[in-house]
Symmetry: C2
Subunit: 527 residues, 2 copies
Amino acid sequence: MITGKNYIGNEPSTLNGTAFKTFDPKLNLETEWTFYEATPEEVADAVDLAWNAFLEFRYFSGMKKASFLRKIADNIEDLGDELVQIYCKETGLPKGRAKGERGRTCFQLRTFADLVEEGSWVNATIDTAIPNREPGPKPDLRKMKIPIGPIAVFGASNFPLAYSTAGGDTASALASGCPVVVKSHPMHAGTGELVASAIVRAAKETGMPNGVFSNLNSSGIEVGQQLVKHPKIKGIGFTGSIAGGRALFDMAAQREEPIPVFAEMGSINPVVFLPKALKLKGKEWAKTYAGSITLGTGQFCTNPGLLLGLRSNALDGFVRTLSEEIIKIIPSCMLHPNIISKYDANKASVLNEENVSVTAEYSADVAINHARSTVVKVKGEAFIDNPRLHQEVFGPFSMVVECQDEHELTHAISGLEGQLTGTIVGVENELGAYKTVIESLENRVGRLIFNGVPTGVEVCPSMQHGGPYPASTDSRFGAVGIDAIQRWVRPISYQNWPNHLLPESLKNENPLGIQRLVNNEQTDAPI
Amino acid sequence: MITGKNYIGNEPSTLNGTAFKTFDPKLNLETEWTFYEATPEEVADAVDLAWNAFLEFRYFSGMKKASFLRKIADNIEDLGDELVQIYCKETGLPKGRAKGERGRTCFQLRTFADLVEEGSWVNATIDTAIPNREPGPKPDLRKMKIPIGPIAVFGASNFPLAYSTAGGDTASALASGCPVVVKSHPMHAGTGELVASAIVRAAKETGMPNGVFSNLNSSGIEVGQQLVKHPKIKGIGFTGSIAGGRALFDMAAQREEPIPVFAEMGSINPVVFLPKALKLKGKEWAKTYAGSITLGTGQFCTNPGLLLGLRSNALDGFVRTLSEEIIKIIPSCMLHPNIISKYDANKASVLNEENVSVTAEYSADVAINHARSTVVKVKGEAFIDNPRLHQEVFGPFSMVVECQDEHELTHAISGLEGQLTGTIVGVENELGAYKTVIESLENRVGRLIFNGVPTGVEVCPSMQHGGPYPASTDSRFGAVGIDAIQRWVRPISYQNWPNHLLPESLKNENPLGIQRLVNNEQTDAPI
């Protein structure tokens, strides 16, 4: 049941916060629930509780943290149909998507549970003493990763489950030993509250300190600002727009003690179509891309918003088929009236730029809040000269850039801002001729894809979801997969520390049986 | 031979830059050499060359990069006595220190050579495809670390070799595949030029692209500012003051594309003396600490500037012996008149604060630019209430804080800014009683030391040299040891990428024979 309250640690709470409602984009109506924004006192209480919880939680064993994470996943599943229904109502997304995303969320939680239960993720590194070394004795030194402190997580509009309340940021932070304060996304505050209730229940059931998790409702920017500026918050996870992520980054950088901000922001995900592939399979690729561009109403950060090719009949044919195919796909609903009005406005400003021609725009009537898919075309030179054409148009939109030669193509790619993904569509034996093109793309992206589509982000250790700025604020880390835990930890060394006082991960006996680097050798043996 | 010129890539260069001189603090005279500050054109040329070099250098094999790093070390050793003499002249430091630091510098270069020649440092992670997985096929994904681009390195005043021109930042960046532009430290520009000549020679001898290294003279702040703001510079390494490091951090954070700044800044390195240790061995510890506080005229970032204990006769005795012993140590020369005048000024402002009493100050005549060692004492309450007493006094200075009980001691520690190190001096059987004290210290430092001194930083994989802000700007990384290479790289994933186009580290055959995580298992086997 939705109460509209915040969770300040384990306690539901409202203190006269501004009331707001979520929205059903399919019905074009407010939902029946009223939410109460967290007040400054509630935000401060949540952070204080998180700090106190941290002092205890940071020493919890991997096994204990794993039981908490697994219980969260179980409890989310136990929410059953109520969660799916509220999710669909607050987002306009279909049931299948809700269930798929719930599965992914629980998979992520259990993956992190396995990781911390196993324990080797702390990168234990040990160099034993050499007392009689010349000119001076070598001390015993042992290093591992420890958590940095309470983390504020900002839920994503387009992933109400997998990148929000109990999503990748929360799961990785809790796994590391950092308490989490979530700023719930105002567009799906009901979904957020239900998931928060599952986390709070899990925290109680597995004996976590009160404050290990809080959930704050917020419809404006004040709650987020207060969190980012609070001295006891030590890191930020965010998924959303460039403007939003950059504002948080700037605020965090200006603190007396700056803190890391991991913002996964915009991306237009360039796709390069090489000539032979277009000639041999242009139609198939056009059909595949019509599907990828419109998937989830284009509301994925990996949506292919930029398609580059060399001037040729094959490219013309590809654009023709893509345009025909995309028009055949029935428009679907966007997450919120604000999202579709931004989509329309961003599209209009691209169409207002010189040298941009529309090759496809869905023109029949559409239901309210349903997005008209659009494909536009521009020449390479115009694209290179006008960085406004590099802006993301969040939704079912893509721009084809026709380059006159390989040189112009390389130039168009190397002038791009950082991207989450870059894709090469080609025939194997033509790749050698486009080495410079491929290398330019490699230098601009976090993930390179061959003969595929960028939508669909596999959750596994070898996935990198992040990229050079502004794809993310810190290209050295990513939000997907087990390495996401490394964002919330720092190394600490213990020098000549008594064995019985060392953390379990560093004791001579290796009681956890983890992999360690001991005197430059990987081993799970005791010392 | 010192020419006073910059190296713009491999070419010595001067273009009417401002002339300046280095200084011999022992003679209190300018040295005979004149240096010419890099002009804006020279800075721009160095960065453009570095960018072009990057496009080639980033693909060089570990073996090729290793040959470059080893040749740099050989060439530095070949500089022989000339380097040692210039080092001593420009710093006032003794010959033994010059030779020791040279050894450490070459050791670091060779350690990074070994690391990249072996190759496993790229953290290759592979998940092979599962084409028939339900509901959709799993793609082949392979991830590794790649270099981020040209790095600007700011030399440290107090480590002219090991943390300057060819120091840890330069060695780790070159090892990663990132070209380096050094902003040479104006106090030891001659030492810097000699080392730069060794690097340039090595670059030519081992076939590196021109621009892989440049050395820029600079006596003001303009060269550094231009580097940090240049769009083709992708990361910053800095060792120095909090004010200097923070200025660079702010500048980098305000760029259109923010870049990471790894600044190792100030630290007062708290040392906690527990009661039994003081009672049993107070005199020995006092003698040891008199040595540590004055080592290298107190000009180490790990200098113990803060000694904390509980009010007792044993603490009084410790302070008495420390004060007697430190006066016996003959004052030594500081690096530069600016450094000693800052030392005197910072000391004076601490002495001006209320409740601070001097327990030792060297009062006999001293040679010019030689520093008077000083120990002061303050009560815990006064220390907690006055954050100005937490400021670093760079030089042979330490402050004893007398706490009335364990609660006050914990409070004093948890209120400290981030520190490079924290030390516990105690008898093993009293440690259990001070769990809260130890945990508070753990939360504030990058390295915990038991029964030792913080000065002396072992170079090995398990060393962490860095800490919570302001010890460093990014506590998740450190400047010492092989993990320093991780500051200059980012992960990239290749999805369904053709095997013959993959980097060697990710090919099925594992041609480099490195350790990889393949389908969640560590192995060096081919696929």
